[in-house]
């Protein structure tokens, strides 16, 4: 067994919170630069240039890219030969988030209960922690802060198997149309297909970690990604929803087995400020 100190995890999570919020992902920045070239609307072009300038300023001044520094999702891939010592894993992750948000002057956006008191927990915890056990003796940590503007328009639908590819497309396009300007387009659309009622959204979320422009290895799926991206960009929604030819920067699909009677589809909508960072211990 390889031992990993909880303290190391804490520090890693803290640093990843800072990195994700201050430095826009390279692939996202590249996609924005391309979009600012191709966008036909002048106002849309202006908006994209502001977004690019924002990324430069945020990095230079160590300011959050967006004031909504999000709820903090933390994905852990724990090698089965790893033994974590010193503290509970979940506590270590939460402490990392707490320290990161404090040190980086990031906004605390979590409330203790969603329905009754809605009191701000004042340290952005609890983090949303997803763990899986994998072969090996490493611990992979991936952090994704995500704002509510785009999370609030994400959707899940249990389609009928007979709805097929056309049904999936229709649902994704409807979701993007409904999101409109509210989710800060140009969007990145993470799609999860298959699994079950709870698994499809998780797949959709995970797909947002994939590098923009990197197609799914299965050609049937990558073709669907490409078709969806083209169709989304023909909607005309444009940057910030006021019209334009770039409504999405990318579509990433993850797909897995499902029940003979099911076709779950989830669309996890990300704003243009798609933030994530990862490390391996």
């Amino acid at each position: 067994m390889r031992q990993i100190e909880a303290d190391l995890i804490k520090k890693a999570v803290k640093n990843l919170c800072l990195e994700a919020n201050f430095y826009l992902r390279k692939d996202v920045l590249e996609a924005l630069k391309k979009a600012s070239q191709s966008e036909e609307s002048l106002l849309g072009k202006d908006i994209l240039q502001i977004i690019i300038k924002n990324a430069e300023l945020a990095a230079e001044k160590k300011l959050p890219l967006c004031q909504d520094t999000g709820s903090t999702s933390v994905f852990l891939e724990i090698g089965q030969e790893v033994n974590i010592v010193g503290q509970s894993l979940e506590e270590a992750v939460n402490e990392g988030v707490r320290q990161g948000y404090k040190q980086g002057f990031l906004r605390n956006s979590m409330v203790n209960d969603p329905l009754f008191r809605r009191q701000n927990t004042a340290d952005n915890t609890p983090a949303l922690v997803y763990s899986e056990v994998v072969p090996g003796d490493n611990l992979r940590i991936r952090v994704m802060p995500k704002g509510a503007g785009c999370d609030n328009v994400s959707r899940l639908k249990m389609l009928k198997p007979g709805d097929g590819v056309a049904g999936v497309k229709k649902f994704i396009l409807e979701t993007v149309k409904n999101a409109n300007g509210r989710a800060c387009p140009p969007l990145v659309v993470g799609v999860g297909i298959g699994g079950s009622f709870e698994m499809a959204p998780l797949l959709a979320k995970k797909s947002l970690f994939r590098k923009l422009g990197e197609p799914h290895p299965d050609q049937k799926v990558s073709r669907l990604e490409e078709e969806l991206l083209n169709e989304i960009n023909r909607l005309g929604i444009g940057p910030m929803g006021i019209g334009g030819t770039v409504t999405a920067l990318g579509v990433a699909i993850e797909i897995t087995a499902s029940h003979i009677a099911s076709l779950p589809v989830a669309a996890d909508i990300s704003c243009h400020s798609l933030r994530s960072a990862e490390t391996k211990l």
Partner: protein
């Protein structure tokens, strides 16, 4: 075309604005989000005074990140305006003239904007570090217990916005996309 405007806004100025106009706003704006709106509207309904005057004023739907040492404000940018739609008509009736947010508004809000000669501005979302450059002063003046949802009195200079719904009921969120649908 870029227009320069100072807050508070007059009706005469508002009538010169058309959707798609780029505007640089200067002067005082107040931040207000969900919980703040709830409190403001409750206060109005009970006939109580508000913590700031509404007449001619501009609300910025925003909750900044905390300012680090020596900074006026952290990152600041618009939140989704439609969440506040149910509160907005009453505020407009009571003298509110401008709103800065992101995303489209309800038909009721559009109607109230027209009836009360007001304007809804779009600011670029997810560009909080950029927009913070145009905020010259920031002070919490009410509801401090709400954390990021407290009311900040901001002094802005040449704060860049786009007219999204004008006083004539034109809506950039409807008209803009129509031009680019293929």
């Amino acid at each position: 075309m870029v227009k320069k405007l100072k807050t508070p806004l007059s009706e005469a100025e508002i009538y010169t604005l058309k959707i798609g106009d780029r505007v640089l706003l200067s002067g005082v704006v107040y931040t207000a989000r969900d919980q703040t709106h709830k409190r403001l509207v409750e206060a109005l309904k009970k006939g109580k005074h508000l913590p700031f005057p509404l007449k001619g004023q501009v609300l910025f739907y925003a909750g900044p990140t905390p300012a680090s040492a020596g900074k006026v404000v952290g990152s600041i940018g618009p939140t989704t305006a439609s969440r506040l739609d149910s509160y907005t008509p009453l505020l407009l009736e009571r003298g509110l003239k401008g709103m800065i947010g992101k995303g489209s508004r309800s038909p009721e809000v559009k109607e109230a904007i027209k009836e009360n000669s007001a304007v809804y501005f779009l600011a670029v979302g997810g560009a909080g570090a950029y927009l913070a450059e145009y905020v010259k002063k920031a002070e919490v003046i009410a509801y401090e217990d709400l954390g990021p949802e407290a009311v900040y009195k901001l002094e802005v200079r040449d704060f860049p916005v786009i007219v999204a719904i004008d006083a004539f009921s034109s809506d950039l969120f409807q008209e803009g996309p129509l031009k680019y649908q293929r």
